[in-house]
Symmetry: C2
Subunit: 333 residues, 2 copies
């Protein structure tokens, strides 16, 4: 047998492989098999159930082309982590589909991945696999998140009963206001500390919120508090009544005055957790309205109550009168 | 307490929810929790490892706007199933991110989902979750596939040794030729039985190919046989020599004559399995070159051999001379 001829085709990697190796290999965990294989392989953590979700973000729909690429990566991961948090589950890994238009430069991708590296370390997970492709349209990012939970401990949207309190973590409305700060509405919205813009760009997924044994139902607030509370109520065949003046607002949001209340209540991009608590479990929370997480103590607030009645949501003002909103919340189609 | 006021906002579902319910609910398995929750929850099959991959398809890049929507859905699922097949693993479920441009009608989505329903039944898996969003660009579909395998039995790309034979399932080149049939090259390519077009639109993922205990390494052929064999060789730090006249072609491909050989060898869209077999395990395959799967007996063919040498691939013609190709294979960036 003769010596092998020169390899043909040449050994340079096709652009796709070089791209993956250059940008994504540093993010890969053991399950990713160096991103060289057809699929990731991992052992599910002993005695736990798997929790999985996918969330896509599209340029000009979910983020602004002028947003810093590192915060786009981090927001993409955090929105998915918020889904895990709502189920009371912990992160294990993630996969990414990246449809790249020509205007997304290597420098952009580098910053995007730097943001992901920072947050995957913070939240204790790593890249398992992915796919890159070209597109003539806007950048489309689809992230699949993989988590786990002890059997039977996933908190679902169904489970609330009439009489349960409606609670929410953190503050509501900052993200929606932050978007308007960044979009530059007229007259300009005051955001002297940058808190609102920061909350739009970098939501805080409530990973580790101890919902098991406390909440009868939970979901994350991403499409607007009022709309999402309506979903939670309808999926439990209940009515939920929200007291608008109980909804927790940040100092930055309060400073803008009551004209912006509707945006806070319906605007979306909160990534807080909305959850139902049976009355017998509310006493402790009412006396100390906060919950511990590995990322700090998270304030929680009782904003309403589930009751029998027409399935859906109503919002009452401080005088006990029903409020009406122009916006119904965010729909993705 | 007064009776609850009329729900506000109204109880009609936002378009996104109605869209998901109308089209995707029928595909959902138990893990999907009726597609109402933030994430899917499932128990990993006892004593098995999880296998996961994501593949995206973009309109005008991976499929033609004129392709029937049902075959687009089926091809998307089958390409992902091919990744599982290459790892010797079995399907468990899938998630979908759907970035929908305005020109994708409800009727289109209905046919798309009908195709998915047909194939998820055929291959024994169900929808676990997903996300839908709007886009101003082309339709982007990202499918995450979830499979499982007995611990340690996943077949990876690394593991081949010098002396191992290079084998491939089925036939090579039909998909690439089928694309050219459908694109309408001049002069037109003969496809009297429609076999080539069918193979482009509906690859046959080799789920259940019994690679464990047989193959030392495997991958699926999606970007062109020559390029993918080069990857397999380089990832094992080996040279692989392919005998072009041993590469199995369908009767429809052979009928087109030798002018189309290069397209077959480099064109991609095969979704066959390329695998390495140590010499001591080849005897049985050489005497009966086929393998059983739940979807029928699959012919397999020895097309070359791994050897020490410059990492990469060479392709020899029937006279033992190295062949040179214009096309290097398919890159997605």
């Amino acid at each position: 047998m003769t010596a092998p001829p020169s390899p043909q085709p040449k050994t340079d990697l096709p652009p796709e492989f070089a791209f993956i190796r250059r940008h994504f290999l540093a993010l890969a965990g053991p399950a990713a098999l160096n991103l060289q294989d057809d699929a990731a392989v991992f052992s599910p953590p002993q005695g736990r159930e798997m929790v999985m979700a996918v969330d896509a973000m599209v340029e000009n729909v979910h983020f602004l082309p002028t947003d810093p690429p590192d915060t786009i990566g981090r927001k993409l991961l955090r929105c998915n982590l918020s889904d895990l948090a709502a189920m009371g589950s912990r992160p294990e890994g993630w996969l990414l589909a990246f449809a790249r238009p020509p205007h997304i430069t290597d420098a952009w991708v580098e910053q995007f991945c730097a943001g992901l590296a920072q947050d995957q370390a913070r939240f204790g997970l790593s890249l398992m696999g992915g796919d890159t492709t070209s597109t003539s349209g806007p950048l489309v990012l689809s992230l699949t998140i993989v988590g786990s939970v002890l059997p039977g401990q996933a908190i679902q949207r169904c489970g609330a009963r009439a009489g349960d309190g409606l609670w929410v973590s953190g503050t509501i409305g900052d993200g929606a206001l932050g978007l308007r700060v960044l979009q530059g509405v007229e007259p300009p919205l005051a955001d002297p500390t940058g808190h609102l813009a920061e909350r739009y760009r970098l939501p805080q997924p409530r990973i580790g919120l101890p919902l098991h044994g406390l909440a009868s139902a939970a979901m994350d607030v991403s499409d607007g508090l009022v709309q999402d509370a309506g979903h939670l109520a309808r999926e439990n065949a209940l009515h939920v009544r929200i007291q608008a003046d109980q909804v927790p607002l940040s100092a930055a949001a309060r400073a803008l005055g009551p004209a912006w209340q509707e945006v806070c209540l319906t605007g979306g991009d909160d990534y807080e957790i909305l959850f139902a608590v049976p009355p017998e479990r509310e006493h402790q929370l009412l006396s100390c309205p906060s919950l511990p997480t590995p990322y700090g103590v998270v304030p929680v607030t009782r904003i309403g109550q589930f009751e029998a009645g027409v399935p859906g949501v109503s919002v009452m003002d401080g005088a006990g009168q029903p409020m009406h909103f122009k916006a119904k919340g965010w729909s993705h189609l």
